[in-house]
């Protein structure tokens, strides 16, 4: 069961917005279709992210995948421990494997609720 307190992108990022700050990560579906995660590259605190543009990259099974921002804004916190503990992404993708906290200036119009995201995952197979 995915949490219903956040929104999702088709590209399998999630965001949870509280008091104008979005916590961002990737979903269990994304993690399950990657494997043998080895590298994660995230922006620094103070950087800007933009809706639909890449905010980072992750490498698994020799495949580099871009990560896409569900919101625009300034990065106010980065989960600096995550690149050294990529197993967290499988253990708790909606919890301790969060990636960024971003002060929100705009949200993607393509964000889905959990019901729509579940259906999207089912359609992708």
């Amino acid at each position: 069961m995915r949490p219903n307190d956040r929104k999702f992108l088709k590209s399998h990022e999630w965001c949870k917005i509280e008091n104008g700050v979005a916590t961002i990560g990737i979903t269990d579906y994304a993690v399950s279709h990657l494997s043998d995660l080895v590298f994660l590259d995230l922006p620094k605190q103070g950087a800007s992210v933009t809706i639909g543009e890449s905010f980072g990259e992750i490498e698994s099974v020799k495949a580099v995948s871009s990560l896409y921002a569900p919101i625009s804004g300034e990065v106010v916190a980065v989960n600096k421990d995550l690149p050294d503990h990529l197993e967290w992404l499988a253990e708790a993708p909606f919890g301790k494997a969060w990636m960024l906290k971003v002060k929100v200036s705009a949200q993607s119009p393509d964000l889905m609720d959990v019901k729509a995201y579940d259906a999207h995952c089912k359609a992708e197979g």
Partner: protein, 250 residues
């Protein structure tokens, strides 16, 4: 596959080219190709390509005149000598969603193409998954599950980049070794099994094309870069792949 989707596989047979051009063309295909595209090419002069995340410091002892480029794809470094290199640029939906399963599909195609040419290889079914960062920085040093091997070692190097532009896209790189290159003499090579002459090179190119088309359920046709792809590749060659700061940024 979506109803009415293009079912053709564009084949680009390129002459051996410099490293920066080779990588720039593949980047342009990932970004702009509207048709699933298979590109076969080689390297002149011979060169080393680093995986996207590899630290430059690991290669400080390379011979100083070695051309070096950073691939958009992951994995370990490859010394590109006499090899048949291929890239596939296509929509992600044409491959299994699971990355490892996608490797399996494409490696099966290469294995069948090799067998068509009288070169037996095995796809490893057990062992660790293909590791993005083995103990050695060289891609061929550490065969893992799904890798194509002979008794001598790993025969095919593979890596991917996955992006979502207007839709999810994949660039898949493959390096099929014909003769073992001097910086990585431990690799397996087609020449270990049978002499490599022009006829075999031609046959391998034809069989790879047919086998990729078969597993992707596409019809191959000979093509060329579009004007837009060529213009983007020319720009990326200079701005991205000939920029030493970018090469050394990790």
């Amino acid at each position: 596959m979506p109803v009415g989707a293009e079912r053709r596989l564009r084949l680009l047979r390129d002459p051996d080219g410099p490293a920066a051009w080779n990588m720039a063309v593949d980047d342009a295909l990932l970004e702009l190709a509207r048709v699933p595209t298979l590109r076969l090419y080689g390297w002149q002069p011979h060169a080393v390509s680093l995986g996207w995340f590899q630290p430059w410091a690991d290669f400080a002892t390379l011979p100083p005149d070695t051309p070096v480029v950073r691939r958009a794809t992951g994995g370990g470094a490859i010394h590109h000598g006499d090899e048949m290199t291929f890239s596939l640029a296509l929509d992600a939906e044409r491959l299994p969603g699971d990355v490892a399963a996608g490797y399996g599909l494409l490696h099966d195609a290469v294995q069948r193409a090799l067998a068509d040419c009288g070169v037996a290889s095995e796809r490893l079914a057990t062992g660790h998954a293909q590791r993005a960062r083995p103990g050695s920085p060289w891609c061929f040093a550490d065969p893992g599950r799904d890798d194509l091997v002979t008794e001598r070692g790993k025969l095919l190097g593979s890596a991917q980049r996955r992006v979502r532009t207007d839709r999810p896209r994949v660039l898949h790189h493959g390096s099929l070794v014909l003769h073992a290159p001097p910086l990585t003499p431990f690799v397996a090579a087609v020449a270990d099994v049978r002499p490599v002459d022009e006829a075999l090179r031609q046959q391998l190119a034809e069989r790879l094309t047919s086998r990729f088309a078969e597993v992707l359920d596409l019809e191959p046709f000979p093509g060329a870069l579009t004007a837009g792809e060529r213009a983007l590749a020319t720009r990326l060659q200079h701005e991205r792949h000939e920029d030493p700061a970018r090469l050394r940024r990790r």
